[in-house]
């Protein structure tokens, strides 16, 4: 239902783009070698988006084809949208997945430490670092990383996913080469996104530590270690698992800015190019895809909340 309206808004937005823009793009696309002619593009466009119809019937018929999994051909890449999507999604997923795991591994322990030692120097340091991570503009941090590690130290390449001599490498070498190129983007992703999770952990941990049952546990004479890691942390996990589960679908959405900066051909970079190039079929698909992911994330976190915390189910 929500998706229907989101789709509608996106579609309406696309329709609002000046026609000359679309025609222009179609004309440009038709200039590309191996592409269809201008009239074909326009015909396809009209068929696809029913430009001749008014907005609402147009949307409905677009939805009709889209729901069957037919998103048409990408103008920018001149292949079916889904094919292009299949090419690049897994790279994004791997990158996002690794970054996500690292993020959890860093953020959760640090958040717990900050909470247990509230108002200590450690806490302040961690909080400031977390805030700095949140405040850091992606592009600035990525540029800094490039300057230090690519230019000054020469450890990594500035752009791209593969080196120039990629084809000469052995199978293992190719994997390592790709891994080498993914280091900086992943570092960027981790640093940028760790902060908020860390803060979230800290806040929730603090809340739990203030609960009565923790006082009871301490009064019982349990060791501090047991209190924190057995009683407090397990309760902190409830909101943590919920939010982590909720962000799982987000792994597929790709990191638009980071991928663009490092020219990693994941879904983010690919769709960035498509969007800037005025590739409407691909953009439409990507936007709808992102909306689906958001909704899916909400759904998963709702379900997980009930799974992890039995009280919710009873209530």
């Amino acid at each position: 239902m929500i998706l229907f309206f989101v789709g509608f808004i996106i579609y309406a937005l696309m329709r609002c783009l000046p026609t000359s823009f679309i025609e222009n793009m179609a004309r440009q696309k038709s200039m590309q070698p191996g592409s269809k002619s201008f009239d074909d593009w326009m015909a396809q466009l009209n068929a696809m988006y029913n430009m001749d119809k008014s907005v609402i019937p147009g949307y409905l018929s677009w939805l009709g084809t889209a729901i069957r999994g037919d998103f048409g051909d990408s103008w920018f890449y001149t292949v079916p949208v889904l094919e292009k999507f299949n090419d690049c999604i897994w790279l994004s997923f791997v990158m996002g997945g690794i970054a996500f795991i690292l993020e959890i591994l860093i953020a959760v322990p640090l958040g717990v430490i900050a909470a247990t030692k509230q108002y200590s120097r450690t806490d302040y340091t961690i909080s400031v670092i977390a805030l700095a991570g949140i405040s850091l503009p992606t592009f600035f941090f990525a540029s800094l990383l490039k300057l230090v590690f690519s230019v000054k130290l020469g450890w990594f390449d500035l752009f791209g996913l593969v080196s120039r001599n990629y084809n000469q490498l052995s199978a293992w070498g190719q994997v390592m080469d790709k891994a080498n190129h993914l280091v900086l983007p992943i570092v960027t992703l981790v640093v940028i996104s760790t902060g908020s999770l860390m803060r979230y952990t800290r806040t929730n941990m603090l809340e739990v530590l203030n609960a009565d049952y923790i006082r009871t546990a301490r009064a019982k004479g349990l060791s501090e270690k047991k209190v924190i890691y057995h009683h407090a942390f397990r309760n902190t996990l409830i909101p943590l698992v919920t939010i982590i589960g909720g962000s799982l679908p987000g792994l597929f959405s790709g990191a638009l800015i980071t991928e663009t900066l490092f020219a990693i051909p994941g879904i983010g970079y690919i769709s960035y190019q498509a969007m800037v190039g005025g590739d409407i079929p691909f953009s439409m698909f990507y936007l709808v895809f992102l909306s689906v992911l958001t909704l899916l994330g909400n759904l998963i976190s709702d379900i997980l909340y009930a799974v992890v915390d039995p009280r919710v189910r009873i209530a």
Partner: protein, 624 residues
């Protein structure tokens, strides 16, 4: 420390609650939890309340809720750091722009000496032919003529026609067939003084003839004077120009020859100039001077000077051309217009160089194969002073357009902060109105608005803004309008979170007693929502907005960085860093992007710190 602090705060609050009934109900309602706390504290100690008399000096410690929040806020060191950074940023961006001696888009220039290839001088060593009648004097005949000249023949035959060859001067031959003149072969080039004027065959022939005669005369004179063979040899020497060979004769009375063509009488002077009356119409020279730029017409004056220099064997000379001065001025005027600014308004030293560029220095260089000379004009040209390292005049150097970095940063900060504030204001207004209405009325209105919120929550804002930015690029939307669109789009896409927050708060608030009281008082719905409910949400709103400001600024910077947000001529921290996309800038010119990035980072960090501090200050329970 915290527990102790908190108790102290509670102590401070007691008198407030005792005397604070006059404070507005709304304010207390937000701090409902503390109220309860305080009351609990109050009841057991109720008997002790007597010793707080009005003239008790402890009574002075009473703080209004606002002051209390401020006090708690300033006790938080991080928040104070954040606040001071923010104050600095505001001073830097809004006052700095006024103080800075340079404008937002003021360009700076520097003088560059460039050696531009200006002209080529070729000494004509081949015969040139001019036909009176091209039918009889075609190229094949010309080739035959050349052969005959080389062999020293007086006559030759070609294609059944006999041609007679008569030498009329040094390297000057007239070819006739059957007594009629059909063509001439010559090495001294006759060129018109004014551009684009064609010279007739008769004119050229006559001119050359008289020129040769003049030369002969002068030579004779010189030969008589010096009685040396060297001069005579010099005339046939390749490198000697007719102009030069006349030089020794200068002290003698001006040798002038005249001839008549088409009823007009022309005179020819010793320098090879052909004059009609006083006006020069053409001149004769062995050298061909061609300008490299097709639009430059070289005056005879210039050419002569040039050839003199070449003959003297010098490699440098200066020449002032009046016509060039005019040209240059129009050039700079155009340049100024192109840059979108008036010509340099303050008396920068660049100004006077425009005049001097007409007096240019030229370097002469013989080309590789020695066939010609290349004349390079040393011109001082004005260029944008790009990527200049930090110096006293530009503390942070200049950027790729030659604009002062520091000033750009100031104006950039202004734009970034302004966008942040306006977007947040739009978001808040939309969010508060919709959230307030939804929360207060509930039912189907709530449902409708919340679905709308869900939809807006779901819309991926970044890609949408990117697409719109690209579309605006395509449409060439004017930068000023673009700025407004950008703010509107960001605001409209971002209100959902605030609406959700407001609604959540109001849902719980409207069940409280003071709302029943407002209903009992018959206060209108509108003022019930906006005067009694919304003020209670303000603490959360402020915290949310402060945090939101940071993220809006980042979003804007990211967009500008990608080139889809704020556009030139407006500066923004994002589009200043944009230059990093160029790897050369990334590696070489740190001062272009590091300061902008740091400012951005600091500002956003400061907003977050202040937001954090405010949250703790508004809600001391969390801080425990």
């Amino acid at each position: 420390m915290s527990v102790f602090d908190y108790n102290k705060e509670q102590d401070n609050r007691k008198p407030f609650h005792a005397s604070g009934m006059a404070e507005n109900a709304a304010k207390r309602a937000t701090e409902d939890n503390q109220d309860k706390y305080a009351k609990q504290d109050n009841t057991p100690s109720g008997g002790n309340d007597e010793h707080y008399s009005l003239n008790d000096d402890r009574r002075v410690k009473v703080l209004s809720p606002g002051a209390l929040v401020a006090k708690r806020f300033f006790r938080n060191r991080l928040a104070v750091v954040g606040l001071s950074i923010l104050v600095f940023m505001f001073v830097f961006s809004f006052i700095g722009g006024l103080i800075s001696p340079y404008g937002e888009d003021e360009f700076f220039y520097r003088e560059d000496q460039i050696n531009k290839e200006f002209a080529v001088v070729t000494e004509n060593s081949d015969f040139r032919y001019m036909a009176k009648d091209s039918n009889l004097f075609g190229s094949a005949v010309q080739a035959q003529t050349m052969l005959a000249i080389q062999k020293g023949n007086e006559a030759f035959a070609y294609n059944g026609t006999n041609y007679a060859l008569a030498q009329e001067g040094t390297d000057f031959y007239a070819i006739s067939s059957g007594g009629n003149l059909v063509g001439i072969a010559y090495k001294d080039v006759v060129s018109p003084s004014t551009e684009g004027q064609a010279l007739s065959f008769e004119f050229v022939y006559a001119a050359l003839k008289s020129h040769a005669a003049l030369e002969q005369e002068l030579e004779d004179e010189a030969a008589q004077e010096t009685a040396g063979a060297s001069e005579a040899a010099g005339a046939t020497d390749e490198t000697s120009a007719p102009a030069e060979s006349t030089e020794p004769a200068e002290p003698a009375e001006p040798a002038v020859k005249s001839f008549t063509v088409d009823g007009l009488t022309y005179t020819i002077d010793e320098d090879g100039g052909v004059l009609q009356g006083e006006q020069e119409v053409a001149y004769i020279s062995r050298y061909i001077v061609q300008a490299i730029m097709p639009d430059v017409f070289l005056s005879r004056d210039f050419k002569e000077k040039l050839i003199d220099t070449i003959d003297a064997g010098e490699t440098k000379f200066t020449y002032t051309d009046e016509s060039l001065i005019l040209d240059d001025e129009t050039d700079t005027a155009l340049e100024g217009e192109e840059a979108g600014i008036g010509a340099m308004d303050d008396g920068l030293p660049e100004e006077d160089n425009t005049a001097s560029s007409a007096t240019a220095e030229y370097t002469i260089e013989r080309s590789q194969n020695h066939a010609n000379w290349i004349i390079r004009q040393q011109q001082s040209s004005r260029q944008y002073d790009t990527y200049r390292s930090p110096c006293a005049k530009h503390w942070l150097g200049t950027d790729k357009y030659g604009m002062d970095m520091l000033t750009r940063l100031m104006y950039g900060g202004r734009v970034s902060l302004m966008i942040g504030f306006i977007v947040i204001i739009i978001e808040t207004v939309l969010g508060v109105i919709l959230g307030g209405v939804a929360g207060y009325f509930g039912g189907w209105i709530d449902n409708l608005i919340m679905r709308l919120v869900d939809i807006f929550y779901c819309i991926p804002s970044m890609p949408i803004i990117l697409i719109l930015g690209a579309a605006m690029d395509q449409q060439r939307v004017e930068p000023g309008k673009r700025l407004i669109y950008l703010m509107l789009i960001l605001g409209i896409l971002g209100w959902a979170g605030i609406a959700r927050l407001v609604r959540g708060q109001i849902l719980s608030l409207r069940e409280q007693e003071f709302m029943t009281a407002t209903e009992a008082c018959g206060i209108s719905v509108k003022s019930r929502i906006f005067k009694h409910l919304i003020p209670n949400v303000i603490p959360q709103l402020i915290v949310n907005c402060t945090m939101g400001l940071g993220s809006v600024i980042i979003t804007e910077a990211t967009l500008s960085f990608l080139g889809l947000g704020v556009k030139f001529p407006f500066a923004s921290w994002g589009n200043i860093i944009n230059d990093v996309n160029n790897t050369h800038v990334l590696t070489t010119y740190w001062f272009i992007w590091i300061p902008a990035g740091l400012l951005l980072l600091l500002t956003v960090l400061a907003f977050n710190l202040v937001g954090d501090g405010l949250r703790d200050a508004f809600d001391p329970k969390m801080k425990r």
